[in-house]
Symmetry: C2
Subunit: 162 residues, 2 copies
DNA sequence: CATGATATGTTATACTATATCAAGCGTGAT
DNA sequence: ATCACGCTTGATATAGTATAACATATCATG
């Protein structure tokens, strides 16, 4: 199941479901979804886009949370460690996970990033099945983590442009 | 054909071949492989590892080239634009291309990055054939560029460790 | 209540990258 | 020849991303 980033959907519901899943996962695993962490996740869920740490920080400020970089980075560290948020390496930015708590830390997300509207869709493109896994096998390389980020144009921007 | 990063090889030859290929490609395309650019490429070729821009910069300094960041970044920009060097997004670092000039800009490299020794091997894991391409097709997404970076342990580090 | 683990506040700093303007240096056109 | 132009480099400043280190607060538990 992929995120609905590129298509119209009940976004309020989309946020509520993700927050509920995060809360359930935290409750089940003795994790503290504190106010800063919760708000950070809400901020990221509010858009299907990747936000920079300093974007997030300034929104946290607006909500009365501490104003220094470590505040944002620590919240992001918690959220990424537990699989609620992913970092988009190609953008040095962060995006909410589409299926949080699905299995904690070990799913293998791939991302489709629209360079026009900035929306990010998360796909479960398990690299274990692709040419990457074959190349690794041939090289005797043991993959622990894979960064897979496709950049291009989403359906809407592709049709609208050129 | 993959790079020989993880296996013993005639490294002097490996460097010489890559430099020759770069020179040929530049000559054929009216590109200037100036001293800074050439030296930058040599630095990256000297190791099968990804180096940060400031690492490269300090090595350039040692060789008498200008000492400001733009010097390194401009050389890297030239080299990446023309396919002689790739950026490893997950590390914010740069690595020499294993098969430069193969087709200029449009090959689809994937990387195997050893977290222990730092070596990087470039594989031609064409994403067009993998699950990523299928996910994109289903989503109506037009991929223009794909970042594929696997992190883990190379054969040597995998055997040596635990 | 004491204790230890977890989380947050705060300051400072490190690391990565680019904008901008000035100067040098070839190549080719007139 | 020299002028004009494009490309490359020099140099200063600043923007953007991330973490180290230490102090304080909070809370569950013994």
């Amino acid at each position: 199941m992929t995120s609905a980033g590129f298509h119209p959907h009940d976004h309020h519901r989309c946020i509520a479901d993700a927050m509920a899943a995060a809360e359930a996962h935290c409750a089940a695993n003795r994790l503290h979804l504190t106010p800063v962490r919760r708000r950070t996740l809400e901020i990221l869920l509010s858009e299907h886009r990747a936000l920079g740490a300093y974007d997030i920080l300034s929104r946290l400020n607006a909500d009365g949370f501490g104003g220094q970089p470590p505040v944002a980075y620590r919240a992001l560290d918690f959220l990424t460690t537990h699989g609620f948020v992913h970092k988009i390496e190609a953008l040095n930015a962060y995006v909410a996970c589409a299926n949080p708590g699905s299995d904690g830390a070990s799913h293998a997300p791939a991302f489709l990033i629209c360079r026009a509207c900035g929306k990010v869709e998360e796909a479960e493109a398990d690299p274990a099945k692709g040419p990457l896994a074959r190349a690794a096998r041939e090289a005797g390389f043991a993959i622990e983590r894979a960064v897979v980020e496709a950049q291009g144009l989403c359906p809407a921007c592709h049709d609208g442009a050129s």
